[in-house]
Structures are given as C-alpha cells and as structure tokens.
C-alpha cells in the first residue's frame, strides 16, 4: 500500500472546555478513519462517515477503498482552486491530490471549528464531508456561508448539519 501523508498543524484552543462534549466513538483512537467508497459501476460515491466530531490534535486518515475510481479529499478554501472558505480562517487548507485504490492521506487537526471538504471529481455528485474539531467557532464561516460563494446543489444537500454531528458524533450517509 502506498501511503501519502501530510500533517496540518495549526494553533489549537478550547481543548479543556470541549473535552466533556465528546462522544466516546471519535475518542477511541488518535487516528480516525474515513473511507472513500463507491459502487462498482461508479453510480454512487461517498465519504464514510460523512460527518464526524473529533478533538483537537486528532488525525483523520482518508483511504480510497473504491477499486474502480480515484478520489481526493480537498478543503474548501480559496487556496484550493479558489473555492469558498469553509474551514476556520486560521487553519491550513489541505488537498490530497488523487488517491488511487488503497492509498491514504492524513491530516492532523488542531484548530477548533467546522471543516468542509470535497472530492474533486465527485463534488457535483455530492461527495463532500464535514469535520467538527472541538466545537463550532463562535463567529466562524458557517454564519457567513451564504456569502462565501456557490457550491453545487448536490454538495450543499449532502452536508450533515452541525447539530447532527454534535449530537451523534459520527454521521453516515442516509
């Protein structure tokens, strides 16, 4: 298995205050796996889970488990193809580039807030995901999302709500 790994480190905060809010599911390991999946005929593609709550300092590892397709995990950020900002302002954006089957890519999150990301070839098919680190920032991008540029309708429809992620910890697609 080829392993590509890049770590993103930012300024963490609010850890102690957030500790009591987390469900055990995302706390069990420092590395949390998100699978990139798809049907054999390419008709459906998705991140699993699509929404997850983690603590600051935890690492997310995306792995392409789709034998017939390539996927990316790419943060919504102007640095990535001038896409709208949908991660905390202080956080560094990431872009895995295309991952072939069984390849992985990891990011360590230390900046608290809400992170939206997408798969480059599948954004229009609604292959997006949302990560919450700690808790949503007080005056972050979700309050401004309407002014941050357009996303494809299928992508906007696919995001789990912040409330759902905060309540359940892990959200899988319906």
């Amino acid at each position: 298995m080829t392993l590509t790994r890049r770590e993103m480190l930012g300024a963490g905060g609010g850890l102690a205050a957030a500790l009591s809010l987390f469900p055990l599911t995302a706390w069990a390991s420092e590395v949390v796996d998100i699978r990139m999946q798809g049907r054999d005929d390419g008709s459906h593609v998705w991140f699993d889970p699509i929404g997850i709550l983690i603590k600051p300092g935890q690492t997310i590892r995306w792995t392409n488990l789709n034998p017939g397709n390539s996927h990316t995990t790419t943060a919504y950020n102007p640095a990535n193809f001038e896409r709208p900002l949908r991660i905390p302002k202080a956080a560094k954006p990431w872009d895995s580039d295309y991952l072939l089957p069984n390849e992985s890519f990891s990011v360590t999150f230390t900046e608290q807030g809400v992170y939206d990301y997408y798969c480059i070839p599948h954004e229009h098919a609604g292959m997006v995901g949302r990560i919450i680190v700690g808790e949503p920032e007080a005056h972050g991008w979700p309050q401004l999302a309407g002014a941050n540029g357009d996303l494809p309708e299928e992508a906007l429809k696919a995001f789990p709500t912040i409330e759902d992620i905060m309540t359940k910890g892990i959200v899988r697609r319906a």
Partner: protein, 137 residues
Amino acid sequence: MKKLALALVVTMASSLCAMAAADVAKSPPAAPYQQVSKLVKLPDFLPGMGQLFVDPAKLPAGPFLAYDHDGKLVSTIYMLPIKDLNPDKRFDNLAAPGGNVDHVDVYYNAGHPGVEVPHAHVVLWHVSVADEARVAK
C-alpha cells in the same frame, strides 16, 4: 451495371470498417489513442470496464476503447456529461471504430478523473453479455 457498382461500394465500405476494427482490435490501439491511466490518475484496469484508451482531443465524449486482460477489445464507451444533455448541445458523428456491436448498456456515472462531472456511460459491447465477465475484475 448499377447493381455491380453498388455491390462494389458496399464491399469496399465493409472492408474499410473491418480494417478500422482490426486497427483497434488489440491493445494498444494506434495513435491518437492513449492509455487513460497515463493521462489521468486512475487505476489502469477498471473493474467492469477494462483497460481504457482515448484520443485526448475527443474528451469528454470519447470514444474510449476498453480492453480485457488479454488485450482484446471488449467495448467502445462514450461518456456524455449530464449537463450537456440539453436542447442546445449535440454529440454528432462520434467515431465507432470497434466493429460489430453485440449489445448496448447505458448507465449513470458520478464522475472520475478525466470526466469530473456526473455523466452517462453509453457502452457498445463487442462481446456477448456472458463475456462481459472478462473485464469484471
């Protein structure tokens, strides 16, 4: 005399089609076709389709030529973006160099490198339904 001329034309046309099919019957097909996995980051052999070749100038529609593990042509695939299936867009005169067609599949695909939008795969199979198994894995 007219019948003879017509027969000659039909024969020549059939021969040309056969020659075109022969040109692409084995992998790799001649230029301008190129191996898709060398143009974009995709697995070289795609389960359900096979090893794909395309003329980059013909993207996104293709045709894509698909080969089995033995390098034999199994299908010709056209990839038509859903957003382009509208009253103002046409796909005319797409090349069809693969020869005889046994059956056709049409299905939705969410996208992949090279055609990064939802699109329809129109698959002209040059082998029987049972022989689709040659590219299943």
